[in-house]
């Protein structure tokens, strides 16, 4: 098809040369009322078929509004998120989220990796909370396998997940501060996160994408003197979290930018399948750690933080307080950490220790089989979910009895949470749009997978 015929066929597209037409926001004249209603976020007020005309500004025309692109290479979109915004002056009327710029086919890749290798794949999805990705993957494989995980491994997993939650929320505090013009917060947040990353490096050998939690347990035991490291991390971050309060929470400019902006109700959040801080900020106390406990979360004492108004400030305050709650859990993990194995001793799942390979024929065979073919997992399909810093991260896995998963699907919280964008943006000003992206907290590695 020549360029001329394409333009002739679709004369009203804004950017014919990108050929991504149908994914884009169309101009008002080309958009049906259903589509318009959905895009302005009126879908939740649809109530079956009837559309509330007050929610849709039919009377507007194309020459009054302007569609602009934000992203995919905009620094405030936290990656390669692209938003198409229809603006009336400075105010947003419609929003369309265009994603897929970081799509690398990780679910397809996962079908061609053995169960041992799979953890290295999922850990790269949500790169801010790798441990929790690995955890959801490992719990799913273990559920299919029926492997019992030693108690110490469970507690190490909890400790590492909570450290990861803190580090993820600290990055959020940093980038959110940056989006609102507080460059100091950016530096402070990343500075505190460095403590945790250093501990990860000491424990797992890597700072990001750890491949630490594996089916059957964890990769390595905690390093010598880990209690002291954790003590320092907890004390420092807890103390500094109160400094953030002084820096941001009461700051008039900061409050004016957040309070009452981007509010959603609990009904809207539930209908849009939002989870995590977005859902809790509306007052729904739904945290999988408390509601459907996994690991040993039913044995530790912590509070589920909820908001009241579901606005940006609630989401900020909620994440700040979740850092403190996570530190509470980490302290209890240190106290209650049992001794014992850090991984299952089932030779079909766990590779034998290096020393035994030279002595035992069986150990050599097991080692060889595990690293060439991998272990076989009984046929079946299973879904299991854990609470990530962004919401419910689930893993749906189908096994056909072979050494590789037949299908692996990750229910990414950021992917689903992005559906709230059009609703949140509606009527907000352009500068608030930046805040909205920030408080939804999408990680594009996970959105596009």
């Amino acid at each position: 098809m020549s360029e001329d015929t394409r333009i002739a066929k679709r004369p009203d597209r804004l950017t014919v040369e990108t050929s991504e037409g149908a994914q884009e926001l169309t101009r008002r004249g080309d958009t049906g009322s259903d589509q318009l209603g959905r895009e302005v976020g009126a879908v939740l007020r649809l109530d079956g078929v009837t559309l509330d005309p007050r929610q849709i500004d039919y009377e507007r025309h194309d020459d009054e509004t302007m569609i602009i692109n934000m992203g995919p290479a905009h620094p405030s979109t936290h990656g390669v998120l692209r938003l198409m915004l229809e603006l009336d002056g400075e105010f947003v009327l419609r929003t369309k989220v265009v994603i897929g710029y970081l799509h690398t086919g990780m679910e397809k890749t996962g079908e061609n990796l053995s169960y041992v290798q799979g953890a290295t794949n999922v850990t790269r999805m949500d790169y801010l909370s790798p441990v929790i990705n690995e955890l959801s993957y490992s719990l799913t494989v273990e559920k299919l396998l029926g492997v019992e995980v030693p108690e110490r491994a469970t507690w190490i997993r909890m400790l590492m997940s909570e450290l990861n939650r803190v580090s993820s929320h600290l990055v959020w505090m940093a980038t959110n501060g940056m989006d609102l013009g507080s460059t100091s917060m950016m530096i402070y947040g990343l500075r505190e996160r460095e403590l945790i990353l250093a501990f990860f490096e000491k424990t797992a050998g890597l700072r990001l994408n750890l491949n630490y939690v594996r089916p059957g347990g964890v990769a390595a035991d905690l390093p010598d003197g880990w209690e002291d490291d954790i003590e320092v991390i907890c004390n420092t971050i807890e103390e500094r979290s109160y400094e953030y309060d002084q820096l941001l929470t009461g700051q008039p400019i900061f409050r004016n930018r957040l309070v009452g902006v981007g509010a959603i109700t609990a009904e809207e959040a539930l209908a849009l399948s939002l989870t995590g801080p977005l859902l809790r900020s509306t007052g729904v106390a739904w945290d999988l750690r408390r509601s459907m406990p996994y690991l040993a979360y039913d044995e530790v004492d912590f509070d589920v933080v909820v908001g009241t108004y579901g606005d940006n400030f609630d989401r900020y305050a909620l994440r700040l307080n979740e850092i403190r709650e996570s530190i509470r859990i980490i302290r209890q993990c240190v106290e209650k950490m049992p001794s014992g194995d850090y991984r299952s001793q089932d030779p079909k799942v766990t590779p034998p220790p290096r020393a035994r390979i030279g002595e035992s024929m069986e150990a050599l065979i097991h080692h060889f089989k595990l690293f060439t073919e991998g272990f076989h997992v009984p046929a079946g399909e299973v879904y299991s979910a854990v609470e990530s810093p962004r919401g419910e991260i689930g893993c749906y896995m189908v096994s056909d009895g072979g050494p590789k998963p037949y299908r692996i699907h990750v229910r990414a919280p950021s992917f689903t949470n992005l559906q709230a964008m059009p609703l949140l943006m509606r009527g907000a000003s352009m500068s608030d749009a930046i805040t909205m992206i920030s408080t939804v907290d999408p990680v594009l590695g996970e959105v596009d997978r």
Partner: protein, 179 residues
Amino acid sequence: MDTRSSGDREDGHAEVIPLPPLAPPAVLVEDALACDAAFFPTPEQYADLAIALKADGFEMCVDVCGVDYLEHFDRYVPEGVTPTRFEVVANFLSLSRKLRVRVRVQAGNESPRVDSLFHVYPGTEAPERETFDMFGVLFGGHPDLTRILMPEEWEGHPLRKDYGVGHVPIQFKESPGPR
């Protein structure tokens, strides 16, 4: 079938869930791996089942995804269900009762098609688009069924089993090569 049991839950007590009042006669399986229970409706029963589940207190449709069982027509499905190549899997969550229910629809072989849940659960908009993009499953009544992760002009549906992975040919040193 008036009531269904969720089986023995981890805390030891079996909870009996009353069947949704409007539930169509979908095949139900109580399986330990299937969270709490799994339904196997036909594509025609699927949307009605979702409405019944919503009325029954399942506030959230957590996830919709597809599976291509190209090589596994012999997989286990309960009696009365004809396995097809494509399956659409939806996970529902009840926050009030802390229950998960999975719905597995046999979507068809050649041109898979099921109804969209968008008008019952608006949160399925993006997952359904992803399933369409990756498997070519059509969702009837979806407001904007376009590709979401792949570029618009992409041909084929990448997660289908007959869609190749692609590879980079490796030229070994000793190989004679074309020159």
